[in-house]
Symmetry: C2
Subunit: 309 residues, 2 copies
């Protein structure tokens, strides 16, 4: 199966701890890398991940809080020192380009490549990126400032050819792509062979959803229904529910409730408050509701859609 | 002896590696903390050092390259989240305040304390900070942009009282401070007891010099003469001397030559280029000229003026 992996670079929240970096992740889809959020230290963690810097062309910023974007300047600067030439695209709620401009202009004035900023609205789900392999849409969240999560959906894969049937009907090679993509085959005698006799369906497209930062928000459930992997913030334990509401964050139990209602395959929780010396409590609270929960941690790599790792 | 220590938070150069953070250090002088440079990740490393954030009131930035100041925003932001109220003073070559202003204004608009910027000229040595314990002066360096090192000089300590002599002359308690500071004592009979009979000199003031980034620059030798500890950048090995010149950096051998000429007690080299997988070569090259050399590394703590650690 084609590679579709999530790398956790950092899963702490605003206050740094000795255990966690600020938020950053990388999705690796068939060796194309997509960064989600870029907290301070993201470039060091990216280096540690052994992922190829040159494979990263798109960065998605959920919202303009420092712990989700203070790593951008260092990353952009380093890419320049490495002689990058490919454009780097940064997708975010509006305002980021203007904020970064003075420092980019001063510290990165000799950049060998262009940084291209793209702004998205945060009220409605929006398709913000698409290529042959993946579609990426925003997931409107509710935080203290405009904020979106991101839904990564693999493009549908072509059907698998049934070799024996292809041989039997003597299908010429040049017809194969059309047939993989669902066309029927017409024999020299004019007989129509329906596609379903020539192919079997490929695996269903895999999906990854990233939801951080947000207050408990049931409205996202329909959009993330059935995803293979859900990252949901779980800043607080249930005992700190009041604090979660006040700061527009989620508890581990609430994250698990979302996962359960959305019938996802697997949940990974993160964005841990610095107050928890050990996140085991958060894992226990979430697992009680949704057993297929794992704790995010730095340098963790999770497959999207293969739960046996 | 009163505490005077150097903590290395990061000693890499511009490109991040899995081994080094960008440049940052903290000088701990009698539990007052002074940060020198603040590369990305400095706040995480400060947390790791277990030094108390609240003891840090002054940050000195050598020059406006990203690997020496990209950690400021995160640090300032975190201090705010922690409810800091004391002013934070940032000393740097001119331009920093203006560069940071837009991001500070946006990301740190609810700061509970003031950040006060101080600019220094980089051409001549200048006293930029002084209190009861320490004097801090700039050391003009030569880099691609205006850049200064910093000289930390302990204030002279009062003389030690010779208890037996004080008793013998029945010196009243209220005279002791004056005597510690060098005054003679006049007995009730009018006899003048010279200070040197009542006290012995305290230890000479200790000194730490920080020199990074700079091309090999003999002009600094007189200013750092005899310091107890010298941090000097040693970005390159001797084989890369041409590259060092071109980029206005120093080789390990050149750093050792400076240490030798300045007759310092101990040299610590850092700001290592990412090209060296292992800095042992740099240590060997420096030690051949100046044996009292150590390699900087993250989380290393060195006393200033006690070489037996």
């Amino acid at each position: 199966m084609e590679k579709f992996e999530l790398h956790i670079l950092g899963c702490g929240s605003a206050l740094p701890t000795t255990r966690h970096f600020a938020t950053s992740q990388v999705v690796n889809l068939r060796e194309k890398l997509f960064m989600i959020d870029c907290g301070e230290g993201a470039q060091m963690q990216l280096r540690r991940s052994r992922l190829k810097f040159s494979r990263l062309n798109h960065i998605f910023i959920s919202h303009l809080h420092g712990d989700h974007c203070f790593g951008l300047l260092g990353l952009i600067s380093t890419f320049g020192l490495l002689g990058r030439t490919a454009e780097l695209h940064i997708h975010s709620p509006k305002g980021l380009e203007e904020l970064l401009a003075p420092m980019l202009g001063y510290f990165c004035k000799t950049l060998t490549y262009n940084v291209v900023f793209h702004e998205f609205e945060t009220k409605e789900p929006m398709l913000i990126y698409e290529d042959r392999s993946v579609k990426i849409s925003t997931i409107p969240l509710q935080h203290r400032i405009p904020c979106c999560g991101f839904l990564f959906e693999e493009q549908p894969l072509p059907n698998h050819i049934i070799r024996e049937m292809i041989d039997f009907y003597q299908v010429p090679v040049y017809e194969l792509n059309r047939i993989k993509n669902g066309a029927d085959f017409v024999t020299a005698e004019g007989e129509v062979i329906p596609n379903h006799r020539l192919t079997r369906p490929s695996d269903p497209p895999r999906k990854y959803a990233y939801c951080s930062d947000t207050i408990y928000r049931k409205e996202i459930i329909s959009q993330i229904q059935g995803v293979n992997l859900l990252f949901h913030e779980a800043t607080f334990a249930q005992a700190d529910l009041a604090r979660a509401k006040e700061t527009y964050h989620t508890t581990a139990m609430q994250a698990a409730q979302i996962a359960l209602s959305a019938n996802v395959e697997r949940l990974v929780i993160g964005h841990f408050s610095a107050r928890y010396e050990d996140e085991q409590l958060l894992l226990e609270e979430a697992s009680a509701i949704f057993p297929q929960t794992v704790l995010a941690k730095e340098n963790l790599c999770l497959p999207v859609g293969q739960t046996n790792c």
